[in-house]
């Protein structure tokens, strides 16, 4: 429950609620947004970044924590791995068991390939499972893929790769239909029309949802389909390095059994990196909405094998993470809460911005409200602003919250906060990696022609900021495409002699750049265990 100080502020929020109902705060101009972002968005805090010292992106900016991992040593540099003893031999190896990896595996299987998923936790332990708000697709009368393109391109600061964005928007309706045919239960009215809402920065209501369990509903359906097809899923096993061959292709991966510590060798004609994001690296000490395994592993092993990164310096801070209570600090409060009508309100009960600006703008604006404006509400771990959730019931009628955002209601009720009656406290949380490994339209990396990337590990689909609902979309669109392309490519790939020479070469480059690190990467799991000695 709230502290007495918080309850004082709640009174002010309640006092202005009537006046705020029905009014729409002004949206910022392009110039205002620009100034705000430069001053308050964490991507512009120079001390949070470092320079990449080696490899294809040498000289470029990267979050300090990711930079450290790129500059760390391979965990198998001094291990004797016998590559002649092949434990798994497949056409397509998918690294990662989230939405992108599962979609890829299903399509590769559909194309007749011998495909296997390897994942360091369980299939479905992924950011996909936690995506709440929805998935975009321009499938309504007043909308079009071109309009979707414009929204995403502008929202991403005109930096998305046009070829990737074209695929995202043009293949979106098809992605929704594919999911629907697999049995995903989208919110529909009695005539079958999809119930769609706005997200931050959308110009049409094209957010499709499955209550606020959108990602969970998609993920559990994909997982069920993978299991129905009896696609092998090797769980609690991480890929720790890619294996290459004497032709410069990838040829599989070295795997680590997370429980026994044993190494294994997987040989594959094509490899898909679908390892997701990096929230658990806690850039700039932000809390995160990400799952336990989000440690950028795929970026590390791809980069070591020679694949370039793109936009690795742009991170998405979701404007509304939980600020209070501390037990769920940093957990996601879906943007759908604002889509349904809740306003962002400061300590004095003032609506200080339009609730549906893009995520980067909203996050920067909240940070400004809590810092320079001094209008945040003090919490045990910092500060936050109100998200005026009782407005949702006023706008949509009693019961709207339970019907449309049951997960949010449940999460807060666990701590005695009834969001139907009281507003909730939020602050930005580390949510999404806008950048990642660079791919071409077919999903292959630029440097290695039988290595593919899909999902959050890709950079360039969204540019320098991502709109709500375009990530669930991209894992499906690019996951499926990667699966199909990998299966086709595997048919005409002849592997040569396998080796791990690139690890030696990388280590030498580090040494030549004067970098000596005792740490190893990929990280695999965050270091949360507290040890007194």
């Amino acid at each position: 429950m709230f502290t007495p100080e918080m309850l004082e502020s709640v009174k002010k929020v309640e006092a202005t609620r009537d006046a705020r109902m029905g009014m729409e705060p002004r949206r910022m101009t392009a110039e205002e947004k620009d100034t705000l972002l430069k001053k308050y968005h964490p991507d512009y805090r120079q001390e949070g970044f470092t320079e990449i010292k080696i490899g294809p992106n040498k000289g470029q900016k990267v979050p300090a924590e990711l930079g450290h991992l790129l500059h760390s040593n391979s965990r198998i540099l001094h291990e004797k791995i016998d590559l002649d003893k092949v434990d798994y031999d497949v056409d397509v190896l998918v690294i990662g068991g989230g939405g992108a990896g599962s979609s890829a595996a299903i399509e590769a299987h559909e194309a007749g390939a011998n495909v296997m998923i390897v994942t360091k936790l369980r299939i479905g332990d992924a950011n996909t499972m936690m995506a709440e708000g929805g998935i975009q697709a321009a499938d309504k009368e007043n909308d079009s893929p071109v309009q979707h393109y414009l929204d995403a391109f502008g929202g991403g600061h005109f930096a998305a790769r046009p070829e990737l964005l074209r695929r995202l928007v043009m293949e979106a309706p098809d992605a929704i239909q594919w999911l629907n045919k697999l049995g995903v239960m989208f919110d529909k009215d009695e005539e079958g029309n999809m119930v769609t809402t706005h997200g931050g920065g959308t110009s049409r209501k094209r957010m499709h949802a499955c209550k606020d369990y959108s990602g969970a509903e998609i993920m559990r359906t994909l997982r069920d389909e993978v299991l129905n097809r009896q696609i092998p899923v090797v769980e609690f096993t991480s890929a720790v390095e890619l294996i290459k061959d004497d032709k410069g292709q990838v040829a599989g991966a070295v795997l680590l059994n997370m429980e026994t510590g044993d190494y294994m060798v997987a040989r594959a004609k094509t490899v898909i990196i679908a390892t997701g994001g990096a929230g658990r690296l806690h850039y700039q000490n932000f809390p995160t909405s990400n799952h336990y395994g989000a440690t950028a592993d795929g970026l590390i092993l791809g980069y070591r094998a020679g694949a370039p990164l793109l936009y690795q310096d742009t991170i998405q801070y979701h404007p509304t993470g939980v600020a209070y209570p501390s037990q769920i600090y940093g957990a996601l409060v879906t943007e759908k809460v604002r889509s349904l009508g809740a306003m962002l309100v400061n300590v004095d009960g003032e609506a200080f911005m339009h609730p549906l600006e893009t995520r980067d703008v909203a996050a920067a604006s909240i940070i400004r409200e809590c810092s320079d404006h001094g209008k945040g509400v003090t919490t045990p771990l910092g500060s936050g602003v109100w998200l005026d959730t009782p407005m949702i019931e006023r706008i949509g009628g009693e019961g709207t919250i339970e019907k449309r955002i049951p997960a949010m209601l449940r999460m807060y009720m666990n701590y005695g906060i009834d969001m139907r009656k009281l507003p909730i406290l939020i602050y930005p949380t580390l949510h999404y990696q806008n950048g990642g490994l660079e791919i071409g339209g077919e999903g292959f990396t630029k440097a290695i022609d039988n290595l593919l990337v899909a999902g959050e590990a890709v950079g360039g689909i969204h540019g320098r900021n991502r709109l709500m609902g375009n990530s669930l979309l991209d894992i499906i669109v690019f996951g499926r495409n990667a699966g199909k392309a990998a299966a086709a490519k595997a048919k005409d790939t002849e592997l040569g002699k396998m080796n791990l020479d690139h690890l030696e070469a990388y280590s030498k480059e580090l040494e030549e750049a004067g970098i000596a690190s005792d740490d190893i990467s990929p990280l695999l799991l965050p270091k949360y265990a507290r040890h007194e000695r």
Binding site: L150, F153, M185, F186, R204, R220, H291, Y292, M411
Partner: protein, 224 residues
């Protein structure tokens, strides 16, 4: 000085700050979690946990990431539970009562003890959705089971050895695919795209210079 409580992980006593969740308390105690930890925000069901408060008889189930520690809590996590998922081809099956009988016949052995509902970490009416499944009322079963995170606590406690999460999942897929009305606007748009209706327009917008795109974006009309 922060308030501490005594908890027992697998029978071993630790003193931990009272405001932690079971999950963060285990990490505070020094555990590096591999199993029993997934999304950490209540959506994946990886951290199914069973506990009893010292001096009380009742066994409780919960998600470790969503539950605050209490004094005298004896905690055991359930790292894996052999839930029995049956495989099927979604294109081949149909939403009739027979399919449940074929795939999950044990649901008809339910003795109505309600242990599943009592064990549910999401407070769902699990026994009710199993009853709907028995009667072939898949839409109701789907709706009632919708918030399931497949933690498996229900199955752990079930004397009839039912794999409840799998039953709910089947009902939801049948509902999503076969029972919910078709979205005609969706099929229509997919057709249009396949026929190339937007090919020219998308090529055009991809070619536009940045300045023109900025102008288009900043002045675009936003649906109310």
């Amino acid at each position: 000085m922060e308030k501490m409580v005594n908890v027992f992980f697998f029978g071993k006593k630790y003193s931990v700050p009272a405001d932690l969740t079971i999950m963060t308390a285990m990490e505070y105690a020094g555990y590096t979690l591999k199993r029993g930890c997934g999304c950490r925000h209540g959506f994946c069901g990886a951290c199914a946990t069973i506990y009893r408060i010292k001096g009380k008889n009742e066994l409780k189930t919960c998600l470790a990431c969503q539950t605050q520690v209490e004094e005298g809590m004896y905690v055991a996590s359930i790292p894996f539970f052999p839930t029995d998922k049956r495989t099927y081809e979604i294109e081949e099956i149909r939403p009739d009562q027979r399919i449940m009988m074929e795939l999950y016949p044990e649901i008809y052995s339910c003795i109505g003890c309600n242990a599943c509902t009592k064990a549910c970490t999401q407070d769902l009416n699990v026994m009710q959705y199993i009853a709907y499944a028995q009667r072939g009322e898949f839409e109701k079963c789907a709706e009632e089971s919708f918030d399931c995170v497949s933690c498996g606590c229900c199955s752990v406690r079930c004397p009839a050895e039912i794999s409840h999460p799998m039953v709910g999942l089947l009902a939801r897929r049948l509902t999503g695919k076969y029972l919910a009305p078709e979205s005609k606007h969706l099929s229509h748009r997919v057709e249009e795209i396949h026929e190339g209706a937007y090919d020219g327009l998308i090529e055009q917008i991809m070619q536009k210079p940045i300045e023109e795109m900025q102008e288009l974006y900043n002045t675009r009309e936003i649906e109310k």
